[in-house]
C-alpha cells in the first residue's frame, strides 16, 4: 500500500519509484493518467523510460516543486533570438551529464510532457552546438555520420560562403 498522497511509478525496466502526487503531476502525461485512474494504489507504468532516467526526472521534479523559480518564466513565443545563457545553476549541474543521458532525458521529457525540463535540456544541447566552430566538430561531438557526397557538400558550402564562419 502506498502512503497517502504518494503514487507509484514503474519504469520500463521494472524499477519502482514512490513519488508525491503533486510532484508527479508536473508531468502532464502522468497528470492526465491520474485523472483517469480510480484506484490510487495502482502503479503507473512509464513504458518508454528506463529506471535510471526516470530517477533523474523525478529528482528534477522534486527540486523544482520545492524551489519554484522567482523569475518570470513565461517564454516569449515571439522572441526571435531565444536566450541560452539563463539556465539556473541547479539546472546546469543537472544537465551536466553524458550526452546519451541528455538525449534520453529529452525523450523522457517529451513523453512525460514536462515542458520546463524539455526546454532546459534543449537549451543545453543548443549551447553545446554553439561551442562548435565547424560542422565537423558538431559531427564529432554528437557522433553523427556525414552522409553528404562531396559534391553535395561543396554546393551547400558555396551557397553559404558569405556567412559561414569557417574556410
Amino acid at each position: 500500500m502506498t502512503e497517502l498522497g504518494k503514487i507509484k511509478l514503474v519504469s520500463s525496466d521494472s524499477q519502482e519509484f514512490e513519488v508525491d502526487r503533486e510532484v508527479a503531476a508536473m508531468s502532464q502525461t502522468i497528470k492526465n493518467l491520474l485523472e483517469a485512474i480510480e484506484d490510487e494504489n495502482t502503479a503507473i507504468p512509464i513504458e518508454n523510460v528506463k529506471g535510471e532516467i526516470l530517477e533523474r526526472v523525478i529528482h528534477y521534479c522534486e527540486h523544482h516543486y520545492n524551489h519554484p523559480s522567482p523569475k518570470n518564466l513565461t517564454e516569449n513565443e515571439n522572441e526571435y533570438e531565444r536566450r541560452t545563457d539563463d539556465i539556473e545553476p541547479w539546472d546546469q549541474t543537472f544537465c551536466n551529464v553524458e550526452q546519451p543521458v541528455l538525449f534520453e532525458l529529452i525523450l523522457a521529457a517529451n513523453y512525460l510532457d514536462i515542458k520546463p525540463l524539455l526546454d532546459v535540456c534543449c537549451k543545453t544541447v543548443a549551447n553545446l552546438i554553439k561551442e562548435c566552430r565547424s560542422p565537423e566538430e558538431i559531427r564529432k561531438r554528437f557522433k553523427i555520420k556525414n552522409d553528404f557526397t562531396k559534391e553535395e557538400e561543396e554546393e551547400i558550402r558555396k551557397e553559404n560562403a558569405w556567412c559561414l564562419d569557417e574556410k
Binding site: 545563457d85 539563463d86 526546454d119 566552430r133 553559404n160 556567412c163
Partner: protein
C-alpha cells in the same frame, strides 16, 4: 531524436550557426532548410559578440559590414515562403533599391513581422522609408543609425504599420519628440520596446508622450546618451535670448562654411557643404517642430503648469525665507521638481517596464531616480552608468525590484554596505557592473556569500578599479557553491590583486569565458595557471601587464584554443608567441597588440599563414613593422575589417592605398598626414584589382 525536439534545439541557435548545422548531415539539412531558414533570414556578417570585446576598453562600435551581394539576397528570398524575419544589419554593399526590390512583393509584404536595417546609415532614404510602410504586419523594426530618417517618415511608418511593438531608432539624429508623439499616439498600449539612445534632439517630453498615450505595456526603454534633458520652462523664459543666440550661431556657421570652402580640396568641399545643408535643414526643421511642440505642450501640460505655479510660490517662499537662493538655484530646483513629476507619472503609467537604460543621465538627481524607480517593480535590467547613484537609491532598488537580474552602476559613489541590501532582496541578480565605483572592497564578497538565499549565482562581475584583494577573491571562491557559474570577470586595474587570484580562479572557475586583468600586478606565474586550466576562455585582456613575458604568453597562445579575442597591449609579446598562436588557433578574430615593440614582420607573417579569420587587428605603435607585412596580412585575411597601423613609421602610402581599394572592407589607417575612415564598398560583381571608388 525526433524532428520536434531538433526544431526546439535549433530554435535557440543564431542564423549563422543554423547554416553550419545544415552542413552536418542530410537530415539536419532538410529540417533546417524546410522549417527554419525560410522563415527567418539573417544577412549580417558573423559578428564578433559583444562579450568578446566588451572588456577590451578602447573598441568603438565595431563596423559590421556584411559581404552579402544582391544575387545572394535575391536567391535566398526567392526560396523562402512565409518569410517572418529579415536582418540586413550592416549590408552596406547593397542599396535600398536592391533591398526593397527583392522584398517588396507578395506574400512577404503580408507575412513579414521583423525587419532589421540597422547600421545601413545613409543608404536608406525617403524611398526606403516609404517602402517600409508596405509591410503592414511588421511588429519589430530596427532603423538604428539610419541617419536620413526624420519625423515625417516615422509618422508615415506608424500610420501604416499598426502592429509595431518593438522599435529601435538609436543614433537617428534628426528625430525629435515629434516622432515619439507619433509613435505613442498611434501605437499606444501595443508598444513594448522603444530604443532611442543617442538621439540628440529627444527631450524629457518623450516621457510625457509615453504616459499621456498610455503606453502601459512598455517593457523596454533605452534612453541612454541622450543629451541632457532640456527643460521647456527655461526655454519659455529665455525664448528671446535663445532665438538670438541661434541666429548668431547660424551666422557663425555660415562664416565657418565659407572659410572651410576656401581651405579644402574640391571633393571635400562638396561633401562638407552637403553635410552643412543637412544640418541647416535639420535646424530649420527643429525650430519648426519646437514651435509646434510648444503649442502641443501648452495643451498637454496645463496640469503641470498649475503645479509649477504652486512650486513657484513655494520657491519664492523659500527664497524669501532663506534669503540666499540665487535665481539659478531656484531654477535648478524647479527643473528637478518638473522632472520628478514627469518621472513619477511615467513610472506609474509604464510600471511593467522590465528593461531601462538611463546611462549618462547625470542631470537626474538622486530623488528623481528614486521617484522613478519606486514605481518599477518589474525591472529585470537596469543601467545607470554615470548617474547619481547613492546608497539610498540602492536601498530603494532593493526594496522595489525583486526580479532584478542585471544592474550596471558604473562610476557610482556608494558604500559597499548598501550592496548587502541589494544581494538580500534581489535573488535573481546575475550580472553586476561596479566598474569605477568608489568604495567597493572585499566586503562585497562577504555580502555575496552571506546574502545568498536562493542559490543565486553571479555570472558576470565587473570590478574595474575596485579595491578588492586576493583575500576577498579567495574567500568568495572557496565559499560560494556557484563559482563555477562565473562566466565574465573584469578585474582591470584592481591593484591589490596578484597571481594568487589567478591561481584560485583557474582552480575553482575553469569554465570562465571572459577575463580581464589589465593593469593588475600579475606575472608569468599567474598567467601560466590560467593558460593551463581555463580552457574555455574566449576573450582575454592582459593589457599593460608589463611583467608578462613570452614564458606565459607562449602558453596562452598555444593552450587557449577557443580564444577569439586577445588583447596584450604594452606587454613583452614576441613573434614566437604569434607563431604558436597561428599554429593552434585558426579561429581568432580580434587581436590587439598596440605598443608591443618587439613584434616584427615575422609575427604578422605567421598570422597570415594561420589566423586567416582575423577581423580586427590593432598594431598601433608596433614600430618594427613594415608595409610588406601589413600587405601580406591584409591579403590573407578576407574578413579583416579594422586594421589600426597608426604610429608605425616609414610606411608606403601608395601600397597601402592599393590594399584599401583592393579589399572591400574597412581600413582604419592613421598616418601622419592622411586620415582615412570607412572605405566605400566596391561592386560585388567585379572584385579584383579595380581601384575605382563607387560612392560620390
Amino acid at each position: 531524436m525526433n524532428i520536434g525536439d531538433l526544431l526546439n534545439i535549433f530554435s535557440y541557435l543564431p542564423f549563422q550557426k543554423l547554416k553550419m548545422c545544415g552542413l552536418v548531415c542530410q537530415k539536419w539539412n532538410r529540417i533546417i532548410q524546410n522549417e527554419m531558414l525560410n522563415r527567418k533570414i539573417d544577412f549580417t556578417f558573423p559578428k564578433i559578440e559583444q562579450k568578446i570585446h566588451s572588456f577590451f576598453g578602447n573598441v568603438d562600435s565595431f563596423p559590421l559590414q556584411s559581404r552579402v551581394s544582391r544575387e545572394v539576397i535575391r536567391k535566398t528570398i526567392a526560396k523562402s515562403e512565409n518569410l517572418l524575419s529579415i536582418n540586413f544589419t550592416g549590408c552596406t554593399r547593397l542599396d535600398e533599391f536592391q533591398i526593397f526590390g527583392s522584398i517588396c512583393k507578395y506574400p512577404i509584404t503580408e507575412t513579414l513581422q521583423e525587419l532589421n536595417l540597422s547600421e545601413m546609415q545613409e543608404k536608406i532614404t525617403d524611398y526606403g522609408f516609404r517602402n517600409i510602410c508596405k509591410f503592414t504586419s511588421l511588429r519589430k523594426l530596427s532603423l538604428a543609425t539610419c541617419a536620413m530618417i526624420n519625423d515625417f517618415h516615422i509618422e508615415l511608418i506608424v500610420n501604416s504599420c499598426e502592429n509595431l511593438e518593438d522599435i529601435n531608432l538609436d543614433n537617428c539624429f534628426q528625430l525629435t519628440d515629434r516622432s515619439i508623439q507619433s509613435i505613442t499616439s498611434k501605437l499606444k498600449s501595443k508598444l513594448k520596446k522603444l530604443s532611442i539612445a543617442s538621439c540628440p534632439s529627444i527631450t524629457e517630453t518623450c516621457l510625457i508622450y509615453l504616459f499621456d498615450n498610455e503606453c502601459t505595456s512598455l517593457e523596454s526603454l533605452d534612453l541612454s546618451n541622450i543629451s541632457v534633458f532640456q527643460i521647456e520652462g527655461e526655454q519659455r523664459n529665455d525664448e528671446k535670448k535663445e532665438d538670438d543666440k541661434k541666429k548668431e550661431q547660424e551666422k557663425e556657421n555660415e562664416k565657418e562654411i565659407e572659410k572651410e570652402k576656401e581651405n579644402e580640396s574640391e571633393e571635400k568641399k562638396v561633401i562638407k557643404s552637403k553635410e552643412k545643408e543637412l544640418e541647416k535643414d535639420q535646424e530649420k526643421q527643429q525650430e519648426k517642430e519646437k514651435e509646434k511642440e510648444k503649442e502641443n505642450e501648452k495643451e498637454n501640460e496645463s496640469e503641470n503648469e498649475k503645479e509649477k505655479d504652486k512650486d513657484k510660490e513655494k520657491t519664492i517662499n523659500n527664497n524669501e525665507n532663506s534669503g540666499l537662493e540665487s535665481d539659478f538655484n531656484s531654477e535648478d530646483f524647479e527643473m528637478q521638481e518638473y522632472l520628478s513629476q514627469i518621472l513619477f507619472q511615467f513610472g506609474q503609467a509604464c510600471n511593467k517596464l522590465k528593461t531601462l537604460n538611463l546611462n549618462d543621465h547625470s542631470e537626474l538627481n538622486e530623488s528623481c531616480l528614486i521617484i522613478l524607480i519606486s514605481e518599477l517593480t518589474e525591472l529585470e535590467t537596469l543601467y545607470l552608468d554615470g548617474c547619481e547613484v547613492t546608497d539610498n537609491l540602492i536601498k530603494i532598488i532593493s526594496e522595489t525590484c525583486p526580479k532584478l537580474e542585471t544592474l550596471s552602476i558604473q562610476d557610482a559613489d556608494i558604500s559597499v554596505n548598501s550592496l548587502s541590501y541589494l544581494f538580500e532582496s534581489c535573488e535573481c541578480l546575475t550580472n553586476l557592473n561596479l566598474n569605477y565605483v568608489d568604495g567597493i572592497n572585499d566586503d562585497l564578497f562577504t555580502f555575496l556569500i552571506e546574502q545568498n538565499k536562493n542559490d543565486r549565482a553571479i555570472s558576470v562581475l565587473q570590478l574595474t578599479a575596485n579595491c578588492v584583494s586576493d583575500y576577498g577573491v579567495k574567500y568568495f571562491i572557496e565559499n560560494s557553491c556557484w563559482t563555477n557559474q562565473i562566466r565574465e570577470l573584469d578585474l582591470e586595474n584592481c591593484l591589490y590583486l596578484s597571481d594568487h587570484t589567478l591561481a584560485f580562479l583557474s582552480q575553482y572557475s575553469p569554465q570562465i569565458q571572459v577575463l580581464s586583468v589589465s593593469c593588475c600586478p600579475i606575472t608569468d606565474q599567474g598567467l601560466v595557471f590560467v593558460a593551463n586550466n581555463c580552457k574555455k576562455l574566449i576573450s582575454l585582456n592582459i593589457n599593460d601587464c608589463e611583467k608578462i613575458t613570452s614564458k606565459s604568453l607562449d602558453l596562452i597562445c598555444s593552450q587557449l584554443i577557443y580564444l577569439k579575442g586577445l588583447s596584450v597591449r604594452n606587454t613583452q609579446m614576441e613573434d614566437s608567441s604569434l607563431q604558436l598562436l597561428s599554429q593552434s588557433n585558426p579561429y581568432i578574430t580580434m587581436l590587439a597588440l598596440p605598443d608591443c615593440k618587439k613584434i616584427t614582420d615575422k609575427g604578422l607573417v605567421y598570422l597570415s599563414n594561420g589566423c586567416k579569420m582575423l577581423q580586427w587587428v590593432d598594431c598601433q605603435n608596433c614600430s618594427q613593422i613594415t608595409t610588406k607585412a601589413i600587405q601580406t596580412l591584409s591579403l590573407a585575411c578576407d574578413d579583416l575589417q579594422m586594421f589600426n597601423i597608426s604610429g608605425i613609421p616609414n610606411l608606403n602610402p601608395l601600397i597601402l592605398s592599393k590594399i584599401k581599394s583592393h579589399k572591400f572592407n574597412h581600413f582604419s589607417i592613421e598616418l601622419d598626414f592622411w586620415k582615412c575612415i570607412y572605405e566605400d564598398s566596391l561592386d560585388s560583381d567585379d572584385v579584383t584589382d579595380s581601384e575605382t571608388d563607387s560612392e560620390n
